[in-house]
């Protein structure tokens, strides 16, 4: 068994000609060969190979729609593979269901929480893998409590999972996987809902698992994180394998170009200084809030944005940055404060009020708050404009078709037709459709909450360019992103939040990593 694995590894060694003998130390734990997967009309995976050695953290990279998720789902038995073979420690593995995958030692933590909110934390860690017909509650509560405290997860074993924050739920999912003595641990975008401290905690955990000889597949969009923890990178593009690289051999720029399949033009230059200077800070602001407060745990805050300005809210996850913009849009209950649009006092208590005043809001959670899954791309694009026109003034089919085609072209949305349901598009294209919806509503003030989350780098760049273009056309934009460098590149002013309070406003020379970090962390440090 072991011999076969070494043999294969040796074979690979000669075939691909890796440098560095140290890679040979670890035995191959998982080998996928020639994996193909077809969906109606789409080739999701075409002849993809993937090799994972024990005791390594292996990043799986690619743009959205490159086939990362499909490969993971094939590996975990969610989708049956159409062709190819999977072998685990040299032995052919037949994985037909998530159960099979668990049984052979493959555990997965998915991007979306895949636990049951109605069960307790402890039960979520043990359900589906206890032995014997009866549940020993005392034992699982005790065991779970031990693991939770070992990993420093702030949750009680007997707590109902639904009452935990998303980050804690994610960590519980990891705790479950960790406890399963898995040989292969798959982390599918685990960090997208964690803040920095939680991420570093997770990395600590990943490193200690690596020491124990677990092979970890790490899927993420955050390049920094890849370079922080990973040993090796496999890049996919359009369902095909681009290659497997040792991390030292692949600088960031090269990685990005491999992922995009073209040379990456440097992003640092996209903001031109003149545009920023054009903003007239003395004119009447487009939007102004005075001691606006909401019921979602944010302190009353003041906020101003001028014509042609791009600003941003920043802060740790849960600092209230999203809650602030939701209050501006009237998405959550607002219970105090004055709001002025173009100097005129207005009342914004619900989204429709905001929309009528020319404010648009692209929500943070695309799946839950953004797309209307089963509706066509066309209906999704015209939705906001339609609502603003009112119940009794439907947009004609021909007109809707025209709008849809215009924006599909403008934002180069990849879709079979405007009739395609939006849910069958990739994440980046869905986001573009939502953007199109709000652009069509022709706002004067556009709020984009995490528009670049969970989408591929190519689209990220496009969206940032679009933001700057909109600003140069005289629209005001609030841009929120959890990636600081994106914010620094696009925004001319940053509002910094901590614990539901505005703690600082940075502009000009202060817009650099260090100052922002210091402001977020607080005055004392």
């Amino acid at each position: 068994m072991c011999g076969a694995a070494t043999h294969r590894a040796a074979h690979l060694f000669f075939k691909k000609g890796w440098k560095g003998a140290n890679t040979m130390e670890n035995s191959v734990v998982l080998e996928m060969r020639g994996i193909c997967k077809y969906f109606p009309g789409v080739r999701a995976l075409e002849n993809v190979d993937f090799t994972l050695r024990s005791g390594e953290i292996h990043a799986l990279m690619g743009e959205n729609g490159a086939g990362k998720s499909t490969l993971i789902k094939v590996l975990t038995g969610v989708y049956p593979k159409d062709e190819g073979s999977i072998s685990l420690e040299g032995q052919e593995a037949h994985i037909r269901s998530p159960q099979d995958a668990q049984n052979v030692g493959i555990s997965t933590v998915y991007q979306e929480i895949t636990l049951c909110p109605n069960l307790t934390v402890a039960e979520n860690m043990y359900i589906g893998r206890t032995h014997g017909p009866l549940t020993n509650w005392r034992k699982i509560n005790r065991d779970a409590g031990k693991i939770l405290s070992e990993l420093g997860i702030p949750a009680r074993a007997t707590q109902q999972l639904g009452s935990c924050s998303i980050a804690v739920q994610q960590m519980v999912a990891i705790a479950r996987a960790v406890d399963m003595d898995c040989k292969v641990l798959i982390l599918d975008e685990p960090t997208s809902s964690l803040d920095e401290q939680e991420v570093s905690k997770l990395f600590k955990l990943m490193r200690s698992l690596r020491e124990k000889g677990v092979g970890i597949i790490f899927v993420t969009h955050f390049l920094e994180q890849v370079y922080e923890v990973c040993d090796r990178i496999t890049v996919l593009r359009d369902g095909k394998l681009v290659g497997e690289y040792v991390i030292e051999d692949l600088p960031r720029v090269k990685l990005v170009s491999k992922m995009l399949g073209k040379d990456f033009d440097d992003m640092a230059e996209i903001k031109s200084e003149e545009d920023v200077e054009k903003i007239e800070y003395n004119s009447t602001p487009v939007y102004e809030a005075k001691s606006l407060s909401g019921t979602t745990g944010i302190q009353p805050f003041n906020f101003v944005i001028h014509k042609g300005e791009v600003n941003g809210f920043t802060g740790l996850l849960g600092s209230g940055r999203s809650e602030c913009v939701r209050a501006i849009f009237g998405a959550d209950k607002v219970n105090g404060g004055k709001v002025f649009v173009n100097g005129r006092k207005v009342r914004i208590r619900k989204p429709l009020h905001a929309m009528k005043n020319g404010i648009s809001y692209l929500p943070e959670d695309r799946k839950r708050d953004g797309i209307v899954g089963d509706l066509s791309v066309r209906d999704n694009i015209i939705l906001a404009l339609q609502v603003m026109k009112g119940f009794f003034h439907p947009i004609s089919r021909a007109q809707a078709e025209k709008y849809a085609d215009e924006y599909i072209k403008l934002l180069s949305i990849k879709t079979a037709s405007s009739d395609t349901p939006i849910k069958s598009l990739s994440g980046g294209n869905q986001q573009k459709v939502i953007l199109a919806r709000w652009l069509l509503a022709n706002p004067v003030y556009l709020i984009l909450d995490e528009p670049t989350r969970g989408i591929d780098i190519g689209t990220k760049v496009e969206i940032q360019k679009l933001v700057l273009k909109l600003a140069s056309e005289g629209k005001s934009v609030t841009f929120i992103s959890s990636e600081l460098d994106e914010m620094i590149r696009t925004c001319s002013r940053l509002v910094v939040m901590r614990d539901g309070k505005v703690v600082g406003e940075l502009r000009g020379a202060d817009l650099n990593q260090n100052t922002i970090m210091a402001t977020i962390a607080g005055g004392e440090s």
Partner: protein, 368 residues
């Protein structure tokens, strides 16, 4: 060369067939066709329509087809409202039968006043009808408020009215069974003298035209679909999901009033325990048969209405074959299960892959 041409033709034919099959309207139409063919084979006289004289000497059309169109009227009208409710709330209103009892009871109460057998009409029929519509819409709103503002699942929320409805109906008339002697009252459920077509058919047609106009000139379709698919997203786009859900229930209330009016007009009286019994089941089946997802979202109004006629067609066919009125349910159930299984995505997928295999084998043969 000719074979390749043949193949091309085959392919375009297949493509068009595929296009037709993938349309939602295909399901009820296919069901209807099967029933029609079955009846043609069993007894072609099923489709005979004759013009007879009624007891008062007026010409009336009779025949099974006329009966189907006539009797399906209430079902079709209710299917309109139920489709909207299903779309927006992702659940069904199981209280329509009870609500019809209430509507009918209110109607008779206004028309007859307090006496059980009045000599003349106590109030004009139009006034009674309007009162009946208002009351029904109020009950619809009650269901709607429970579903939208109290966030109770529709099935459960309407269970309340389902349980209490018939009791409320008999309470309204103090448990009496009023009988209307004025023949004019019966026109709406039977025939208007001189017109050989049953009146309910016209009423149903009017309802369909009204809903078609509403769907054309308002955003009802987009709003209820958006709310049914993703209420969070709808809210952030300025739609008030609660209001839309409430609206669909109120519309269903209006449909119930019309259906209730037809029902009491047919007999000129009411029996609280029996009127529109089990009609909620038929209506829900109609919506399902129309290929609409019962968990909300996209809908096709035409398919639902067609579905209602298919259900009635099935009922009438079974009655014709001397199946006792009570046993019909069993046959209906079997037919419904077959239809639903056939249209289940899993089965369709399997059939599709089977077809592909057969086709690929054929092409292999052709190549050989």
């Amino acid at each position: 060369m000719s074979s390749s041409e043949n193949k091309l033709q085959n392919n375009t034919l297949l493509a068009t067939i595929k296009k037709i099959v993938s349309k939602q309207v295909f399901i009820p139409i296919a069901a209807l066709l099967i029933l029609v063919i079955f009846n043609l084979a069993a007894d072609p006289s099923f489709f005979k329509i004759s013009v007879d004289k009624s007891s008062s000497g007026d010409p009336i059309m009779s025949g099974f087809l006329v009966t189907i169109l006539d009797n399906a009227s209430e079902l079709a009208i209710l299917a309109i409202g139920m489709t909207l409710v299903t779309s927006a709330s992702g659940g069904q209103d199981i209280s329509v039968g009870s609500a019809i009892a209430i509507a009918g009871s209110v109607m008779l109460r206004v028309v007859c006043g307090t006496s059980a057998r009045p000599e003349s009409l106590h109030a004009p029929i139009i006034v009674a009808f309007l009162v009946c519509v208002l009351v029904s819409m109020a009950f619809g709103a009650f269901n709607g408020v429970l579903v939208s503002y109290c966030k109770i699942q529709p099935m459960v929320a309407t269970l309340i009215l389902f349980t209490a409805g018939r009791s409320i109906a008999s309470w309204i008339n103090n448990n009496q069974l009023p009988v209307v002697s004025d023949p004019k009252f019966g026109y709406y459920g039977n025939f208007i003298p001189g017109i050989p077509v049953p009146t309910p058919i016209f009423i149903a047609a009017i309802c369909m035209i009204v809903i078609a106009l509403i769907l054309k000139f308002t955003n009802l379709r987009l709003y209820s679909q958006a709310v049914g698919i993703n209420p969070h997203s709808s809210r952030l786009n300025g739609i008030n999901p609660q209001l839309v859900k409430l609206l669909t229930f109120v519309i269903l209330g209006a449909c119930v009033a019309v259906a209730g009016f037809i029902k009491v007009s047919r007999l000129s009286t009411i029996n609280y325990a029996v009127i529109a019994k089990d009609i909620e089941m038929d209506v829900i089946l109609a919506v399902a048969l129309g290929g609409n997802s019962l968990s909300g979202g996209k809908f096709s109004m035409t398919s639902s209405i067609l579905g209602a006629y298919v259900i009635q067609f099935l009922t009438t066919t079974l009655i014709k074959f001397k199946v006792s009125a009570n046993a019909i349910a069993a046959y209906k159930a079997v037919v419904v299960i077959i239809l639903v299984v056939m249209s289940a995505p899993i089965v369709r997928e399997k059939l599709g892959s089977l077809k592909k295999k057969v086709l690929s084998r054929k092409t292999v043969k052709e190549v050989a």
